[in-house]
Symmetry: D2
Subunit: 444 residues, 4 copies
C-alpha cells in the first residue's frame, strides 16, 4: 500500500504567522508538549527506499504531522466556524461533527459554530436552507444515529456565491467533509479566498466509504462498511447453500476501487469470487467468470459472488452513461447485469440454478459508525480543529503509518488509491476465495 | 384477528388407535399429567359469541390442544422419521429441525431420523440428493445459523414418487415444514398414503414469513422478520433526512398480506406511508399516493414509505404475470415501479427529490431466529413430535390464544389471514403514520 | 398461564359520565367503529370452564376491552396530563412515553403534557427536580435509546404531597409506569384523589421486566430481556466449553418468578440447569444441585447454569435481609453464593473446574426495546391514553388472550404471576435442559 | 506508539536451509513475487530518527517482513502440524485456527493437521484429552462462534513431556496461540527442541485482549473487545442518567495496560473518568478521584466511570495476592472496591447516589471476532503458516507500520506495551472525558 510516487515535504499553506495566545486562552496539553510544524511521518516504511533517498542527498519523503500547535492563528473568542458535509452518507459523519464541535467549544473556547445544511446547497441563499447554530445539546447522543445531522447533497455550487456566504457569515475556518468532488470544490474555494485576500482557513476531512483516496491509508466509515457488508455475505451464503445450485450475488460499494469487496471477502471466507474494478475479467470463454462459476457450482453445489459496483464496466457501451449531480460517471448496474448473465448461462446449460441478488448499499451507508470508526472519527475531527486553529489551510487530514498527518489538497486531489492486482491484498483474496485468476474457483 | 367463520370441533385424523407403551419406553412429563385428546382451546374470546353459541345448543368452536399424549402409536425403537423443509428460507427452520430431532431422540428414544435434502426434490431419485442421517452432532450449534441445514427447493414433485420414497425408506412419520404449496402437497401425500393403506403420519409446521396462514395466529420467523425490517426502516429514514426532499422507500415481504410492513412500521415510528395488498390506493389524483407524498415532503422535507411486495398489483396488466416454480403468481415489482413513479412525479413538479430504494428481502429471510422465534420454534417442533408420536396425521401445528393447537390441514389450506382494513392493526398503523386514508400524510 | 381464580366482570371506575365532543375535536377511527364499554375478552380459553360457568347461571369471567371510546370525559383543549416512570429501568419506557405523547398530542389534540422527573421524587418540591414540558422534538429519536428520558427513582413519597402537586399543576390525567410498588402508590393516589373529590384520572402501565404481574399475560421489556439474556448464555457456553470442566454460571433477573431464566434457556438450548424461585432445590445430597452438576460435568466435560436472582433464598438466614428504597426485600446474591459453593464442591472433589460467572443485569435493563417490545409499548401507550381520555381511572392496561384490556388496580395489586412447576413452561424447560428434577442433568 | 528502544535487525532463527520444491508442490503467488528474507519494515517512522541512525553508520532498525517464501523447508506431503490455543478466551481464536488450517491444507497441501485440546494440557497424557484431527468440515462455520474449538487452559506444563509428545506425534511445526506465559513456554519449548536436535519449528501468534504485547502494534481481539465494551458503556450511561445522582461504573479488562478502557472511552464519549494502571491516582483528598467524582455529579447530576482491572492496585496490601495457574499475580478487584468506596463517600456526604456496577469481562472475551478482527486473524494465520513452512522458528507474527512482520521471541517476551501518560492517546482521553488530571471532571 505504499505510494509509488513520492510526495515532497512541501509545507502546508497557512493563512499567516500564528501567535501564542495567553495561557488562559489556550490549555496546555497533558504532557506539556505540542506538536511542532517540523514533526514528520515517513511515507515509505521500506528501509532500502529510505537509504537510497538519503544517499541521493534527498530528504526523506514525509508528511507533516497533525496535532495541537503551541501557537494558534485565530482568537477563539472572536472566531466563528462552519461545518459542512457533502456527497453520499457514510458512517461516522456525526462522530466527526461532534468531535469538531466539542474540541472547538470546550478545548479552544470557540463558541460560535455553524452547521451548514444539505452540503454546499446550504451556502446558496436561493435554496432557503437555514444555518444551524450548533450547541452542546444538539450534538449529544448523535453518535448512535447514522447519517448526518447536517444533511448533505450532491453536486457543485457556484464558488463565488459560497465565498460571499462565508464572508457574510464572517466565517474564520470552514471544515469540509466530503469526497472527491468536495476536495475539488475545496481547492477552488481556497483559491478564491486567496484571490479575495480573505483570512479564511479551509480544512478537509476526506470522506470515501470506498477507501480510495490517494495518500490516505484509511478513510472513515470503511471499517463499518466492511462490518455491515459481512451481514450481506452471510445472508448470501445461507441462501446459496439453501437451494440446489444456489448462487448468492452481492453488489458492494466501490466505484473505482474494490477495497470493500476484497476486505469483506476476507472477513467472511464463504466468498468464492470477488470481482473488482482493478482486475479485468471476461464473462465468456474458458477461464471466463461464467465458466468458472459453473465449475464451482458443479463441484460444490453452490457459490457466493461479490462484485464491486465499478467492476466490469467494459461490458457496457461507453457512450450512454451520464453523470450524477456530483459529476461522477453514472455506472451501469453490474449487479443486475451479472444476475441476468448468470441466469442465462445456467438456463442455457439446462441447470436449474437459484440466484439470489443482494444490494445492501444504503443499509451500509446509513449506519452509525462502529467503535473503531468512532474512535477514528473523533481523532480526525480533533486534528482538523488543531490544523484549522493553527491557521493552516488547503489541507486535508490523513492517516499514514499510524499517525495523523496533514496532506496538501493538491497532492491528493484527482488521484485514487487502488488495489494492486499484484500486491498482498489481492493475492490474499485469491488465496482465501480460491478463485485463482478466474480459472480455479474455490472451496468451502 | 378472530376468524369470521367458525371451525367445527372435528377430531383430528389418526392413523389408528394408540397404545400405552411401557413406562420404560415413555418418560412421564414432569407434572405427571398428559394432554388429553379432549383438551380444547376456544377460537373466539368474545363472551357474547360464546354465550350465543351455547344458547343455540351448539358446542363452542374450539381447537384440539397440542401436547404429549399418554398413549403413543409408534414403537420408538423401530420408528424411522423424516424431516423436510420446503419453499423460501425463513428464520427458525434450523430451530425446528433441532427441536424435532432432540425431542424424538432424547425424549421418545427414536434413533433413526432422516433429513431430506432440498425440499421435495430430496424424495425424487433422479435429482440425486443424498439423505442426511441426523445426529446429535449435526444439529448442535445450528441455532446461530440462518437458512436450513437441510436445504430447500420450490415447486411440486410427483406425489406417487414421494410415497414410493417414503415406503422405500420405511418412514413412519413425515414432518413437513413449508408454506401454502407445501400444505397442499402434504394433503395430497396424506391422501395417497391413505389410499395405499400405509401407516405413515404427516405432520406439518406451517411456514410463512408473511404471517398470513389462516387460523394460525402467529407463524415462526415473522417476529425476526419484523426485527430485521426495522433496520431497513432506520436506514431509509437516515437517507431520507440526509438530503433535501429525501424519500426512503422500502419494499418488504408480503405477497397477499401486509403484516410485516404494518408491524415494522409500528415498531419504528419514522414511517409515513404503509402500502399493503389489503388496502387499495391510487397513485394519481387528489388523495392519491403521489399527491399525499408530495404534500408530506413539502411540509416536512422528507418521507419514508414502506410497501409490501403484493401491494398495488392492480397497476400491472394481469396477463403477463407467470408463476414461479411453487405455483405462486409472479408479482410485478411494485418497489421498482413506485420508485420510478415517484421520481417522475417530482421531476414533473420540478422538485429535486432524492429517492433511496431498499429491498432487504434476502437479508431478512436468511437470518437466524431471534430469541422469541427460537423459543416459539422449539415449541412447534416439540408439539409436532407429540402429535406425530400419538399417531395423528393430516394436521398442522398452530398457535391460538396462547396455546399450541392441532389444526386439520383441510381447515386452513387455501385460505389466508389478512389485515382487516377496518380492524385495530390497520387503524393503529394509520394513527402511527398519520397517513390517514392517503389524504393526510403524517408527522415526525 | 390461566389464572386459578376468576375475576368478576366489575366495571372499571370512571371519573364521571363522559360526553361526546364535537367531531371537530375528536377524529373518527379509520373504521368508524369505537370500542364499546361492553366489549369483553374472556379470561379462560378452556371451553369446559366456560360451559360450566354458564350452566351455573354465572356470567363468563372477562376483562373490559381497551380501545378508543366514542365519548370522552376531558376537553382536550384544556387538559394537562402528566407522565411518570418509577422503579428500575426496563426496555420500552421511552417507547411508551413517546406513544402517550403522540396519541395525546396529535390524535386528541392535548397540547399540555408534562414529564415528571425521577419518579415520584419529581412531585416533591424539596428534591428540586424540574418538570419537563414534553414536545414533539423531545420525544423524537428516543426509541433508539435505552433508559427513560424522564429518569426514575425508587421508593415511596408522601401521597398528600403528590396530590398537592397534581392540583398545583392542574393535572387531569396522570399516567404512571411502574412496578408493584408503583401500583400500590397509584391506588393510594387514586383513593386520595377521590377523598378530595378531584377530577384526576390515574392510569397505570405495569412495568416488570420479570413478567410477573398477576393477570397480565405479558409485560413490556420482557421479550427484549430474554433476547439480551441469550447473549449471556452464549458467552457462558463458550467459556464453559473452552476449558476442561468448564462451568458457565449466569444470574438473570427474577426476584419472585423465573420467567426470564426459563424462557432464555428455551431460546438457547445450551443451558443444562435452570434454577428459579418457584421450584425448590437442595444443594447437597443425592439429587441435589451440586451432585447433579458434578455428574453432568463428569459426563460431558462442561455445564451451563442459569439462576434467577430470587432462587434459593432459603439458603440465607431470614433475619438479616433489609429492604431497598422501593420496599423490596433485599435478596442475598444467589449468583455469588452458588459460584462459591460450586468452587468448593469441585475443589473438595479434587477436580480442577473453571467457573465463569456472568451477571448481565444492567446490560439488559438499560437496553432499548427490540421491535416486538416497541410495537407492544406503542400499543400500551395508546390504550392508556384512550382509557384516560374516556375518564376511566384506577385501572391498569393489560394484555390478555391477544387483546388489550382494562384491569382494575385492585384485582392485580399485591399478587404475582409465577411459573407453575407442574405446567407446560416448566415441563418444557426440564425437557430442553434435560435437568430432570435435578437428578438427570442433560445433554448437548 | 514507537518503541523507545531499537531492536536490531537480527535474523529470525531457522531450522536449516530451505529448498525449492517442485512447482507442482508449491503454487506461485498471483503476482509471481515471493517475499524475500531481506524484505524489511522500519520500526520508527520518524525521519529524523532514521537520518540520525544512518549518519551514525548504523543500519536502520527494522523487522523482517512476513510473507510466503520461494523456498520452503518442509515437504508438505510428509509434514504433520499441530495447533494449540492457551490462556483466556479472546475473540478471533477460531479465525486463526481456520486460517492456519486452510492455508496449510489447500495452499501448501499439508493434510495432517492436529488440534491439541485444552492448551498445553493436551500434550500431557495423564489429562487424557484426545487429539483432534482437523478437517475441512471441522473448521467450517466456526467463524461465527466465539471461544476456541480446541479449548484452552491456563498454567505451565512440563516442557520435556511436551517435547516427548511432539516427537511421538511426529510434529514438524507447532503453532502456538497464547499470551505472555505462552510466549515464555514457547521459548522454553524451542530451546528444548534445539537441545534435542529436533527439526520442529515453533511459531507463535501473540494473544492478548489487552493489546499490551511489546513490539506488537495491534493484537487480535482487541478491536472486538473495544466494540463490545462500548455496549457496557452505553448501559452504564443509561443507568447513570436514569436516576438522581446516578453513577455508572464499568470494569474493563487491562491487567497492566489500559488500552481497552482508554479506547472504549474514546468510542463512546459518555465516559467522564478513565482509570488505568499506567496513571496513578488517589482516592481521597483534593484532586483525588472521589472529590472529582463528587464535583462532577454535583454539576451534572450523573457520571460514568471506566476502570481497567489493573488500576489502583496500590490500594491493596501487597502481601496477600497469590498467582493464578498461568502465573499472573491475582489482582484485587478494583471494580468492587471502587463501588464500595464511592458508596461510602456519597453516604458520608448525605447524598443519595445510585451506583450501578457492570463487569462485562466474559461477555467480551467469549465473543466471535468482528469483521476487522476476522480479516486480521486470517492474515495472522496465513503469515504464521508461511513462516513455519519456510523453516523459521522461535518467532512470533507481529504487525508493525501496517505490515506483518517476524519478531524474534526473545525481543518481545517479558516486556509490555503501555499507555504513555504523556502521549497522544492519553492526552486525547483527557480531552474527550474532560477528567483533567483528576481535577476537572468533564462535560456531556
Amino acid at each position: 500500500m505504499n505510494p509509488t510516487e513520492a510526495v515532497p515535504n512541501t509545507a502546508i499553506m497557512a493563512l499567516g504567522p500564528a501567535r501564542v495566545l495567553s495561557p488562559l486562552e489556550r490549555k496546555d496539553p497533558a504532557d506539556g508538549h505540542w506538536t511542532s510544524d517540523e514533526d514528520r511521518v515517513v511515507i515509505s516504511v521500506n528501509p532500502d527506499d529510505l537509504m537510497a533517498t538519503i544517499k541521493d542527498g534527498e530528504t526523506i519523503p514525509a508528511f507533516e504531522m497533525a496535532g495541537p500547535r503551541r501557537k494558534i492563528y485565530f482568537d477563539p473568542s472572536k472566531l466563528r466556524c462552519a461545518l459542512v458535509t457533502c456527497g453520499g452518507l457514510c458512517p461516522g459523519l456525526n462522530d466527526i461533527i461532534r468531535a469538531i464541535f466539542l474540541e472547538l467549544y470546550f478545548n479552544y473556547g470557540v463558541k460560535k459554530i455553524n452547521g451548514i445544511r444539505y452540503g454546499l446547497q446550504g451556502f446558496i441563499p436561493r435554496y432557503g436552507h437555514d444555518i444551524m447554530e450548533l450547541t452542546s445539546e444538539s450534538v449529544s447522543r448523535i453518535l448512535d444515529m447514522g447519517g448526518s445531522i447536517l444533511g448533505s447533497s450532491r453536486g457543485p455550487q457556484p464558488i463565488e456565491e459560497i465565498i460571499d456566504s462565508l464572508e457574510r457569515m464572517n466565517i474564520g475556518i470552514l471544515f469540509m467533509i466530503g469526497g472527491d468532488g468536495t476536495l475539488m470544490a475545496a481547492t477552488l474555494i481556497a483559491d478564491a479566498i486567496l484571490a479575495r485576500n480573505l483570512k479564511i482557513g479551509v480544512v478537509c476531512i476526506p470522506k470515501t466509504i470506498d477507501n480510495d483516496i490517494y495518500l490516505v491509508a484509511r478513510s472513515f466509515g470503511f471499517d463499518t462498511a466492511v462490518d455491515e457488508a459481512t451481514r450481506a455475505i452471510r445472508a448470501a451464503h445461507n441462501e446459496a447453500v439453501g437451494y440446489p445450485n444456489g448462487i448468492g450475488l452481492i453488489k458492494l460499494m466501490g466505484r473505482h476501487s474494490g477495497f470493500i469487496a476484497a476486505t469483506a471477502a476476507l472477513a467472511k471466507q464463504e466468498v468464492n469470487f470477488v470481482l473488482v474494478p482493478e482486475v479485468d475479467f471476461d464473462l465468456e470463454g474458458e477461464g471466463g467468470f461464467l465458466n468458472s462459476l459453473e465449475e464451482r457450482v458443479r463441484d460444490r453445489g453452490h457459490a457466493v459472488v461479490v462484485v464491486a459496483e465499478g467492476a466490469g464496466q467494459k461490458f457496457f457501451a461507453q457512450d450512454d452513461r451520464g453523470r450524477d449531480p456530483s459529476g461522477n460517471i453514472r455506472l451501469k448496474d453490474i449487479g443486475v447485469y451479472l444476475k441476468e448473465k448468470i441466469a442465462d448461462h445456467f438456463q442455457a446449460l439446462g441447470v436449474d440454478a437459484t440466484i439470489k441478488y443482494i444490494d445492501p448499499s444504503y443499509l451500509i451507508r446509513s449506519r452509525e459508525a462502529n467503535a473503531n470508526d468512532s474512535v477514528f472519527c473523533g481523532n480526525l475531527g480533533r486534528e482538523a480543529v488543531h490544523a484549522g486553529m493553527a491557521g493552516k489551510t488547503r489541507l486535508l487530514i490523513g492517516h499514514w503509518n499510524n499517525n495523523f498527518v496533514h496532506i496538501p489538497m493538491a497532492a491528493s486531489a484527482g488521484k485514487r488509491k487502488k488495489i494492486d492486482p499484484n500486491g498482498r491484498l489481492w493475492r490474499t483474496v485469491l488465496d482465501a476465495t480460491g478463485q485463482g485468476p478466474l480459472k480455479n474457483p474455490g472451496r468451502v
